[in-house]
Amino acid sequence: MIQLFDLSKRYGPHTALNHIHLKIGKGEFVFVTGPSGAGKTTLLRMIFGAEKPATGHILINAINLNRISRSNLDLLRRKIGFVFQDFKLLSNKTVFENVAIALEVTGLPSKSVKKKTHQTLRLVGLAEREKAYPLSLSGGEQQRVAIARAIVNDPLILLADEPTGNLDPDLTLDIMTLFRNIHQHGTTVVIATHSRQLLAGADCRIIVLHQGNISGDTW
């Protein structure tokens, strides 16, 4: 599903990723962890095609992102959901519109957009709040809107960057249950986090990054 070969990225003097090799199989549930500045966000952004590597190759479903055209990258992104640390919600659009946007870009008929968006909002427990605006929601609710937008078009891969960074322990548990449910439907889930609470007792693969290198890869 995801293959990284000799991947490097530098920001000025700082090495974000240092010649890393990594394979994540279809349907895996993976945590990427490490201290701040270890390269977690950079890794996720590269898998998403939002950053270009200095060296190396990224293959998503055997498609090399170095050689992909811009229009094909747009199409590929429809199959990769991304939950951003800062949610990236549009404050002038309702919860419903924020989620529906991911379907509208695919050209789906508006009837189907409505149906699928309602379904997804029910799944994340926000059916009652679909007409609310993001700024009137709690942090946990905003996070669930961001997750709903990332999963609304049934992505093959779900990437989440510190999805519980701003949440209290109870909400963290809710969000993790949501990710587990999505994973059970066959989606490959990659979560970048430095939360010890999240990793404690995790029965899944954990990749540890340190100064741009993979320092641990455990099951």
Binding site: L75, R77, F82, I101, G107, S110
Partner: protein, 297 residues
């Protein structure tokens, strides 16, 4: 695909609604620019019409010397009546000429009372059949008449026609230059408005790209926004021009001859052309803005 078309229009209209002040100001400026262009076309079109109408009927004024004898006048009269293709030949005595002038001046004719003796000459007004129907050489006839004893001066409409046609050529050239500058002005206005809306919506653009929107999916509403802005500006300019025309056409305008000028509105083709032009300028303006200020990487 149908749903997607509605989506683009809905987005474009929503964008306009969200930044209504910017768009209203922008459309207002477009209206002002196109109004100048439209007014020019209206005036130029009517001038051309009047000229064509006037030029199609050859007319001639034969001014007589004061104190001309009845014999000499009869001789001139019979020569005029012998000319081919004449429609009407009318003798205007000195008194008739003064009365006509008084009638034309209306309330402002008071000062004419002071003019004694009457300085206006007696004349013959000769109107020929349409120029297409007769082949007369006005220059030749003028020379012939001027050689007669008792004729002071002969003026014919083609002399004026040539002068006005020369003037219209200059007006046309000035019109092209002004028109081109105004078109550039409209493009500049639209470019800047769309640039501003792109800036205001940069977060939305970023998110659209992150969820897999193609470049054109993101760009098209901006293009439609420019198109709607241009069309609205063109439509409002036509409306304003039409209202001005209604106000003007209610008055009788005398410029040449005793009959009021027939003031007509722009032909439908011109109206369509202005609307098409304004729409196209809107599209060009937004394309320039998209090309220069759109970073969707």
């Amino acid at each position: 695909m149908r749903g997607l078309r509605f989506y683009f229009f809905r987005q474009a209209l929503l964008n306009i609604k969200r930044n209504i002040t910017v768009h209203v100001l922008s459309i207002g400026t477009i209206v002002a620019s196109l109004l100048i262009l439209g007014a020019f076309l209206l005036l130029f079109g009517n001038l051309n019409n009047w000229l064509r109408q006037w030029g199609s009927a050859l007319s001639m004024s034969v001014y007589l010397k004061d104190g001309i004898s009845a014999y000499k006048r009869d001789k001139i009269d019979s020569l005029l009546r012998g000319l081919p293709g004449t429609r009407t030949i009318r003798y205007i005595s000195k008194d008739d000429a003064m009365n006509e002038l008084k009638g034309a001046l209306g309330d402002e004719a008071g000062f004419l009372k002071e003019l004694r003796p009457n300085p206006l000459p007696a004349s013959y007004e000769v109107i020929f059949e349409d120029r297409q129907a007769v082949t007369v050489d006005p220059e030749k006839i003028s020379r012939q008449l001027e050689s007669l004893d008792g004729v002071e001066e002969v003026q014919h409409s083609t002399q004026w026609l040539t002068r006005i046609e020369g003037f219209l050529d200059v007006v046309r050239l000035v019109g092209y230059i002004i028109g081109a500058l105004l078109c550039l002005c409209v493009v500049f206005i639209v470019t800047n408005t769309i640039k501003l809306t792109i800036h205001l919506r940069r977060k939305e653009i970023e998110i659209l790209k992150l969820v897999g929107a193609t470049d054109w999916f993101v760009k098209l509403p901006f293009m439609l926004e420019g198109m709607i802005e241009g069309l609205a500006g063109g439509g409002a300019a036509i409306l304003a021009l039409f209202l001005t025309y209604l106000a003007l056409s209610a008055k009788e305008i005398y410029l040449i001859g005793p009959a009021p000028l027939n003031f007509v509105f722009l032909p439908t083709a011109y109206v369509a052309l202005i609307l098409l032009l304004s729409t196209m300028l809107g599209v060009v303006g937004s394309l320039i803005a998209i090309g220069r200020f759109f970073d969707v990487s």
